[in-house]
């Protein structure tokens, strides 16, 4: 039996991953569409990863002490939702670099905090493989389905429609994941 907190974290992450997966490798196609070459694609992606990596170590450190993990995570989800809509304003590689850096910061806020919370609420020592398999497995499945839908939206619609769809779903994921704040508050009051 999985605890309620784990369910919120899992389902919230699934909604998030669905939206996240919609762009996936089509990111390269979008970069080429706005005038980027292979090096622009890799730099844009690298900036996101390096921003995430740098900030993630910092966020991981302070989330144990100064700020609650739950609040940091939900703020990261919200920032990511804003960034999905921000893609609509991207018309050059430089714009893209900026959005990617902010997405990196958002991921740094919601990545390690989500992992640490999931780890904390998992109290089944003998089922660690199953609990982590569930997290990784569901996430990947949903991301894969999101990607196929994303590919269809771009093929039969446009990148603009894709970004609006992603933004809306990311917002839903943020609102859903924010439920963990209520649960935490109830436990704190008790």
């Amino acid at each position: 039996m999985i605890r309620k907190e784990l369910k919120i974290l899992l389902y919230g992450n699934n909604i998030y991953n669905f939206s996240e997966g919609m762009l996936g490798p089509l990111f390269a196609v979008f970069t080429q569409k706005i005038g980027g070459d292979i090096l622009d694609i890799t730099w844009a992606w690298a900036l996101y990863l390096i921003a995430t990596g740098t900030m993630i170590i910092f966020v991981g450190k302070i989330s144990d002490t100064i700020i609650s993990k739950e609040k940091t995570m939900v703020a990261g989800y919200a920032l990511r939702a804003i960034c999905s809509f921000a893609y609509l304003l991207v018309s050059s590689p430089i714009h893209l670099f900026i959005v990617q850096i902010v997405i990196g910061i958002a991921t740094a806020m919601n990545g390690p905090t989500w992992d640490a919370l999931y780890d904390r609420y998992d109290d089944s020592d003998d089922e660690a493989g199953y609990v982590w398999g569930l997290a990784g497995g569901e996430g990947k499945l949903i991301t894969g389905i999101g990607l196929i839908i994303g590919g269809m939206i771009v093929t039969y619609g446009s990148f603009k429609i894709l970004f609006i769809t992603m933004g809306v779903i990311h917002t839903i994921a943020t609102i859903y994941q924010a439920r963990i704040l209520g649960i935490k508050n109830r436990y704190t009051k008790c």
Binding site: T42, A46, Y130, G151
Partner: protein, 186 residues
């Protein structure tokens, strides 16, 4: 002071990420180069994710009853190393789909087992955020560096040069992670 087991898992995944990350976002460029369109790009990547996702839950569940999570993890890394070299022979979207499915299987073997081993390697709950942050942070920075190197290899050389480089680095990572067996025996 980090425990030796955590160090092996951390450094192993850092080396692995350096190899794996080189392909990153230019996967789509490769898929288009071998004749794929946007839907082929999406399907190829989605197949990898769906196979990984479906199997990772099964493997995660099964690995709880198996004592040797380490062995499963190393088998997964080995499969993916071999398949990285397999990219060299890909010349159509169908070949790419086959490789992606294979990579999904390998990923499903090492991902949940690695997470579970890392999760249980440290009992100090006070630094859980720091440890996960360290793992994810190092990994992302290395992936970022890898992506830039990968882009340069493809721009100035070729995709084949990229796949050979990736395969060799992943092989080193796999061999390095096998050190975890020695710790288990000790």
């Amino acid at each position: 002071m980090l425990k030796k087991k955590i160090k092996i898992l951390l450094y192993g995944t850092v080396i692995w990420s350096l190899g794996e990350g080189m392909f990153g976002p230019i996967f789509a460029v490769f898929a288009k180069k071998i004749g794929g369109d946007i839907l082929d790009v999406a399907w190829a990547w989605a197949l990898y994710l769906i196979v990984t996702g479906a199997l990772v839950m099964i493997v995660g569940k099964m690995s709880d009853t198996w004592r040797n999570k380490e062995k499963l993890m190393i088998i997964g890394f080995s499969i993916n190393t071999i398949l990285t070299f397999g990219y060299i022979f890909v010349s159509s979207p169908m070949h790419l789909f086959a490789i992606q499915i294979g990579l999904g299987v390998g990923n499903a073997l090492f991902e949940p087992t690695w997470d579970a081993l890392f999760d249980r390697a440290d009992e100090n709950e006070k630094r859980e955020g720091f440890l996960w942050g360290l793992m994810l942070g190092e990994k992302e920075i290395i992936l970022g560096i890898a992506v830039i190197i990968g882009g340069m290899i493809v721009t100035y050389f070729s995709f084949n040069a990229l796949f050979i480089t990736m395969g060799i680095i992943q092989l080193i990572a796999t061999v390095y992670q096998t050190r975890i067996f020695k710790l288990k025996k000790a």
